[in-house]
Symmetry: D3
Subunit: 133 residues, 6 copies
């Protein structure tokens, strides 16, 4: 049961309306999902969150399928069902097939295991990413 | 300070030697990193862990760069420095550039935020991934 | 489905009865909530937990509304629905209004994001709290 | 060791410069802390993150001391040393004294315990926050 | 609602059949639980996961009751209901009684508290486990 | 660097002195470890924490070695180095040998993996622990 009242997706509150319309246009969807309707209880927070999603979740060096898979990996690690569903469905929309989804899950499971093995072993990094400008 | 003694990478213990040689061959590396040397304290566990990594971290529907990015996303979420370094460096080796690394980080940060917003809002899934055979 | 049998709130088991009566008196409530009824399966553990809550969750330098908001922030970060509800409801009882609840959620979301950005960036502290006696 | 190169705080890169100057003005600080210098490797991400912090971490229904304590509670739960230091120091700047800091820590510890007790007990919510517009 | 289709436990797919039959034999169970039926969507992953469970979850220096309690402690800390139930039921099958279950829960709760207190206090280790071959 | 000043273990502050002396007597140790010296900044909190540890970490249905292993499993899952060291060293003192320590780590790693696989698969419990009085 949500801890806030979900704002109706046909709301005429101007700040919320603007964001909802932009979500529909940018995402090419007919309905506003629950996360945005819940965040809309706080229009300024809704604007901030949507600005961030709009700027980050667009094709860049990484394509949308990859970004949605990364979002799913984070969400599975944190155990957020709403988010897992949302990002797996989005990754599928961007072309992830059933076999890819299974591989994604296998990688996520594997490194949750290794992360904790490393915690237990308390080993120090011996490899470093290249750091450039 | 590691909680176990790291096994020398020139060990002649047969089960460990076989895994270390296989790691060098499959990964085309000259040195055995600390995680394998630490796991080698338990040869059966070393074999199991390497079998799993070898089977999962090979090119499939998802390529190696993508799999290493997913591993990095998990490791950042869990806060495991050893693993973050290891997977970011590996993703770079498979072609991830500095801009891609920044996008990866932005997505990981963003959805750690959203996962927790959803926890607070307690909304229920309204989108579902396609479930096929 | 609970993994233990909830103890009836009218129980006459002496150790549990004493704690339940103290909870009703201190908290000025008519009913014993599920967490206490579940912990009551282990009367010594119930006593310890209640002693801790009673000592920590009383007005001090921090007032009760603040303490309940901190408890809610922890519970949202950990994704515990029972606890989120409990502490948000308690914070409301102590005066938190709808706008304050939205601000609380925004701060919690924001810093779950920043915590993980910092994990990914692996930066070291450059500011320190004052440490006094 | 950071995974990105920290941008010099005297940088003349225009987008970064604008954010750094705004941070100094809004926060009334002389130096730019490591988190912003690290995020500056990706100017768009820096702008988004600063916009969010600027909008959320201002006095509202909740005052700054309370917001910094909430941020500290989240950071302690996630185990992010950089963030713990940053938010405890900020809360002190806004008036949190040593006794308040101890109370904060006690509440955070207590509810990390209760969150996990509830996970183990698998009890369902019996109290709900008021949900209004 | 599962994100994958659970494979029928009477499947004749050879790789899955072999694992399911081995699970029934090794575990002495009549039915295949949901985790294996879900993992069976990816037969290679199923084989890897079962090989690991079969090798690790057998009596060793630690007996099965102890191993199942450790698994339950991990699962409670992560908040995974399916896993909590599974490992508590298994530990009971291996002899854990109601009092032992309560003690297990108390220890898990206590150290989730202390782990976070230590995060907040940022103290450094002053005791080390013995490290031998 | 600790966020509080560690209280000297020879302190004469009466409430702290009483706890420190009791720790030395009950635990049969010569020195007070950092966690207690840090908690001593808040004598009431120190008393509460020690009362809880003293009551829970005593031999019961579960012996001390088992309880320390459970504490280590929690601490590895949460990534708390101080606590990992403390509980592994304590488990060794109560008889855990090197092989047992490796088995413990293998179980902890394995079920951190399975917990997250279950999150991704979103399967519902099909086994339940027995619930008795």
């Amino acid at each position: 049961m949500p801890t806030v009242k979900l704002v109706d997706e046909n709301t005429t509150e101007p700040r919320v309306r603007a964001v909802f319309d932009d979500i529909k246009a940018v995402r090419n969807v007919e309905h506003i999902s629950a996360i945005w309707r819940a965040l809309a209880a706080n229009p300024e927070h809704l604007e901030l969150c949507w600005a961030q999603v709009k700027a980050i979740m667009k094709p860049g060096v990484l394509d949308m399928k990859t970004k949605e898979m990364i979002a799913a990996a984070v969400s599975i690690t944190n155990g957020c069902n709403y988010c897992i569903n949302s990002h797996l469905a989005a990754a599928q929309k961007f072309g992830l097939d059933a076999e890819g989804m299974r591989e994604l899950l296998a990688v996520v499971g594997l490194y949750n295991q290794f992360n904790k093995l490393v915690f237990g072993l308390q080993i120090e990094p011996d490899v470093f990413p290249k750091v450039d400008a």
